[in-house]
Symmetry: C2
Subunit: 385 residues, 2 copies
DNA sequence: AACAGTTGGTTCGACATCGAACGAAGTATC
DNA sequence: GATACTTCGTTCGATGTCGAACCAACTGTT
């Protein structure tokens, strides 16, 4: 009776923050009567309750609505090749606890998922609450229809694997999977109140992927491969051999690995990109120069894409986005190289959600997935606190 | 009473071709009862009538529905810098008569629109029928909200001009304006039964623009500037000066003007790109080589965009798309340079609608615009044949 | 020629949403 | 503290869409 799409939207919104009926009506652009009717259903089903009143704004004060169920948790995971970030979030998409564990994708899906599942259980034991759903970011293309990882260049042995099914088997709750850059774009879009309807979120890690938001919705392309700019040709990299077998790819000059490598050839050894960032922060000129150059090259490659897509916002995530030289280099390249009409109003910024963007996007998808389960109201009402 | 959005969709569909109620229900994914109810309204309003029966398919034969009004015409115009194609189409988007006239955009909007309007009147005088609406393709960005041309690099004096208003004043019917590449994409998408949901349509003329279809809808970008790849940097053009003041732009090596220029430097003079095409068809090796190289460079520039956008189809329009060497060169570059997951299922073809693609897109927009006029039913019913 | 099978179209009750009108519960003003 | 004003929420009739059941009209088979 209350499993309609509107009910889901209302639950999501109320879970995020207490609101009054009239505020909901305005936010959602629906008639007050429609909201009231639905809220009645939800209250009858025991999912929502009135809790206190909003301050009057010159007239009758509104009654604040809260979600009855507050101990539900979604587990969200962001996978890299060597590490995974694991976190628990509530239904309002707020992250309550998180941790990082060492994994090795080369060990294959089963072993990796078991490590991740163990960490989820451990976080649950510490934090309490009931696990309702899981969302995971994969560093490679994901066919969300068939629900499998496809041809992930950095994850041999994972092709056609249904990671969601493995997680479901291990944790006993619904799970969803999507590409990391896609989820970062979704997370950043959702966590901004001022987000443009069309945006590109760049995730520069081992490879360089982007997530695309079109008209407020995630765009995944015709074969779930959209957003890949790793192998865009840049002149400055013409001599460099890429892992894909070609030369001149953006990855060979703007990825984390490339930066570490470039520093090594100038005699400076850094363990990983995090160390490089620390050096930049300490004012190391060599590190600074290499990072700026990486940003410049990324900006150059992005300029074609930005001219084509004409986004309102470009968000940068990944470790490098913490360095302001990097962000500034990307921005200045875009402003210099793109058409005036395209740069008019264009924002180029580090993601506000930082490295949690992917986790937030995963939480959103996991919650939506959960709320679309047919058995939802039962779960909520008979395990509610 | 029958001005709802469903009514518009039904009218459009019935105008395109006679159909039965049950076929409409299937096509539109609506309940048969919904269709019947709406058709009753439309018949009561005198907009639709039953005309004959469909052959039985093993059961009760359907009754074919036709639009009552068949002499209505929309005028569609595709503007270039020196020429404009003017045509009349019916409500089914079929072009009945067309012509080409010489214009000069440097004369400014008023004079140009007057020339165009005169040609529309002349076509109407020849063909008969009542003019209902006008659609025009502009070779530059168009802000469809404010309904003005913005910063058109090749049309000085047209900035912030409302061409639609000028046409309305001259012809006395509603008019709409949009960018030529956008409308070509829309037209090609609509005229294919097998079109992919996400596609890029390349219009290579003076500049090189693309129109983008996302999930079956035209995507225009955040500032109506999407699709511009004219100034994408290509290595082979590094030495060439572009009209934009930079070097290395795609336009300097892959546009029609660039091809004519390149042939001139090898001592071969062609008046325009049409002549070059004729030479290619005659097997002229120099012309062939230059056209193939243009296609190769376009393909190279497109590869970044295709990796990013992951379309199902790429359509080529504009004069050059008539040369199969050109299409083949673009296709082979895309297949070679894009990721396997992106090229899986990717089609790269000359537009089926050919150079009419823009006119068809303009007809679509003009018809939609017309059907969204509040006074529509009156117009239709009291002037119907 | 009767009858089963198939497809086309309508009727009717259910449901979601809307908008207008109204009652409820405050604040501001005199 | 009466009165106007503002905001919140509900009631109620109208509208659009759906799906199930039903009637209508044809084909093919026996």
């Amino acid at each position: 009776m209350s499993t309609g799409n509107l009910a889901v939207g209302l639950l999501r919104r109320i879970a995020a923050q207490s609101v009054t009926r009239s505020a909901l009506a305005k936010e959602m652009g629906l008639a007050p009567s429609t909201i009231s009717a639905k809220i009645n259903d939800l209250m009858a089903a025991g999912l929502v309750e009135e809790r206190g009143a909003a301050p009057s704004r010159g007239g009758r004060p509104g009654r604040l609505l809260s979600i009855t169920y507050r101990t539900g948790r979604v587990a969200v995971i962001s996978m890299g090749a060597k590490h995974a970030n694991v976190a628990l979030a509530d239904l309002a998409r707020t992250i309550h606890i998180d941790s990082s564990i060492a994994i090795d994708v080369a060990q294959g899906p089963e072993a990796t998922v078991e490590l991740i599942a163990a960490e989820v259980r451990s976080l649950l034991a510490r934090e309490g609450g009931e696990l309702l759903s899981v969302g995971i970011c994969i560093p490679g293309p994901v066919d969300i229809e068939r629900r499998v990882v496809i041809a992930p260049s950095r994850m041999p042995g994972w092709h056609n694997q249904d990671v969601g099914a493995l997680l479901e088997a291990a944790l006993g709750v619904p799970a969803i999977t999507d590409n990391d850059a896609n989820l970062a774009a979704l997370g950043e879009y959702l966590s901004r109140s001022d987000a443009a309807a069309n945006s590109i979120t760049v995730l520069a890690g081992t490879g360089i992927g982007t997530g695309i938001i079109v008209d407020g919705e995630l765009y995944r392309g015709s074969t779930y491969a959209s957003g890949d700019i790793t192998h865009t040709k840049v002149e400055a990299a013409a001599e460099r051999m890429c892992s894909c077998g070609n030369r001149g790819c953006l990855e060979t000059i703007a990825s984390g690995a490339a930066i570490v490598g470039d520093l090594a050839t100038s005699g400076i050894t850094a363990q990983d990109i995090i160390e490089v960032l620390a050096m930049v922060r300490d004012g190391d000129p060599a590190a600074n120069g290499v990072v700026r150059e990486a940003g410049r090259q990324l900006g150059l490659a992005l300029s074609t894409v930005v001219n084509f897509f004409n986004p309102g916002d470009v968000y940068l995530t990944g470790a490098l986005s913490g360095a302001s030289v990097y962000v500034a280099a990307v921005r200045s390249q875009l402003y210099e190289r793109c058409l005036p009409l395209v740069t008019a109003g264009l924002r180029v910024e580090a993601a506000q959600a930082g490295n949690d963007a992917g986790l937030l996007g995963a939480a959103e998808l996991a919650i939506l997935h959960l709320l679309n389960q047919p058995s939802l109201p039962a779960r909520f009402s008979d395990s509610g606190n």
